[in-house]
Subunit: 346 residues, 2 copies
């Protein structure tokens, strides 16, 4: 990483948690990740969901097809495929997925977020699946919220004992607590053995619950898990800049058309792909630890997933630009819409 007053050159990042959807939205959003990412872990909560090796390979072909126009410029971007773990998942499906090149299985709590109707209620019923994942080296990615709590503020913290139990029961299973949002969550992951890691999103580094419901209602700041208290955000920032390799980038960038957010029943998700690195530059430099940006964005994730580091370098130059108020014909409103930023990807 090379930082000057006018330029930041860093290794291309890995986004270890990304929603790219399907069809036109897929074609729309992909370039906004490919520019600065070497790889991205593609979430399987599509409609219908990605449940098998075959689903994942079909989805991967769809993604590669959509990448072609941009690949004239960017030749080394790669989608990392996942399957959704449901109560119907079998060890055989795990082994088949691994053999096909899938690298992780995502466990959603039932009904907790976008397209999670096939999610899990009873984690203990998944022991055979976890054993199979452990044996073949498929990473287990958890949306870490219990589905049964009647208060959204508690769901992540209540999930932590289940997460810890699985970690101790399957010491060779590599596990990720996705989009950790609470102080207790980062402490828990920090204390668990080396098989356990967590992703942190850029938007959880800059939002608290007050940015959603503290003033006017802000649907474009609404996500799952919901942004928590100021103390929780402080813990996330301290953890991200700490250089602890158990914590790395997963943007959870999740595009929704304006109409699906600004309505009487709004979808959860924040679209950050176009500015994910700029958010990091802002947060890490405010904390005086810009030197930790590259490890968090571009190294710790690859190391945990046992992938070679990206070789491509990307450059940000100091050049003011204004984040669009919306992207695409479907009008996806990004985080920091309309805000002026100092750094631009060249």
């Amino acid at each position: 990483m090379k930082i000057t007053a006018e330029s930041i050159v860093m290794r291309a990042a890995d986004d270890m948690h990304l929603h790219v959807r399907q069809g036109q939205m897929l074609a729309d959003v992909l370039p906004h990740t490919m520019g600065w990412c070497g790889r991205a872990l593609i979430m399987p909560n599509t409609k219908p969901p990605i449940l098998t090796a075959e689903d994942a390979m079909r989805y991967k072909r769809e993604i590669l097809e959509a990448m072609k126009p941009s690949n004239d410029r960017i030749t080394d971007s790669e989608p990392l495929m996942t399957i959704m773990i449901t109560p119907a998942t079998t060890p055989e499906m795990i082994f088949a997925a691994k053999a096909a090149g899938v690298i992780a299985g995502k466990i959603y709590p039932k009904g907790m977020t976008t397209n999670s109707d096939d999610g899990v209620i009873d984690y203990m019923a998944l022991d055979d699946v976890f054993q199979a994942m452990s044996e073949c080296g498929l990473v287990a990615c958890f949306h870490g919220e219990v589905p049964w709590s009647n208060c959204c503020l508690d769901r992540e913290d209540k999930f932590l004992p289940f997460f810890a139990n699985i970690a101790y029961a399957f010491p060779k299973l590599r596990m990720v607590l996705e989009h950790v949002t609470t102080e207790k969550g980062v402490v828990c992951v920090g204390r668990l053995p080396e098989n356990v890691a967590a992703t942190i999103t850029p938007h959880h580094l800059v939002l608290t619950i007050d940015d959603v419901i503290g003033g006017m209602l802000k649907p474009h700041h609404f996500c799952k898990p919901v942004a928590k208290r100021p103390e929780d955000r402080a813990a996330l920032i301290c953890t991200a800049i700490s250089g602890n390799p158990k914590f790395f980038l997963g943007t959870d960038s999740a595009p929704h058309p304006r109409g699906a957010k600004e309505c009487d029943t709004g979808c959860a998700g924040v679209f950050t792909a176009p500015i994910a690195v700029q958010v990091g530059i802002h947060v890490f430099s405010e904390a005086g630890r810009l030197d930790q940006l590259e490890p968090f964005y571009s190294r710790f994730g690859a190391e945990f997933y046992q992938l070679p580091l990206n070789r491509r370098q990307v450059e940000y130059e100091r050049q003011p630009w204004t984040v669009p108020t919306a992207y695409f014909q479907s009008e996806v409103v990004p985080l920091w819409a309309g805000r002026q930023l100092n750094w631009r990807l060249t």
Copy 2:
């Protein structure tokens, strides 16, 4: 109060916290309160706000004019007027308001809710005003949230020490903690002397923070103070049904056109006027204390404000009906939109 399987006859209620707005919205919403209310305490956060005796009397005339069409049927409904207390309010303005028939002054924290830019930051700078209110018997109604906390979950609890200090400093000042939402809030009011009371809204008896951000985002459940945790709602229910005369109805019914809620910067407020009593019937009968509905809705408020009890009786008959999905041309979405209710005002 007379309760049979087919009918509930009760004294007309007093809504001790109501937003009726101005112009067409005023004409639209008034009949939905007049049907079941003898009196309503009219909030002064209009645009521009109601700051003086003259403002209040002008607003009262506007309201009485708008009530005329309905008054052919309902002859005893009465608006109880308030003024907004700001840093510019003087003791003279208090005495003039009292002399003109205003019965309460509302203290908003600056910038905390709809049209509160003129609100207060420094409560201690209001000592002269509180003294004047105490002397002449103008009730002090507090939107009980501090303006400076950076977490909406804390703002009410952080206001309580200020509230208690004012209560002890002015033992003859009648004070109301409006729309109390937390367990700590009801405990604080319960422990303070007899000059202190609180209103509870119907929507805070049925909503928690999960109804706003726990599943999909629900802008029509978004209000200030934001609905809190399940334990807080339980405390509100227990308090409302307890028969403690310090706690009484204030609906805070606050109509916003659909477009002001379903947008990128949504307004706070829940429109409950058409179903406020039905919500109470539901909550109080679920708790097995329907006998406490009339004291909470129709007696304790009048007694605290030193007003005679309403004489009109209203009747609800058991007849299923469905709450409209929206009211008026401006499409105000009510609480429980589309829900089937059992009791209908005759």
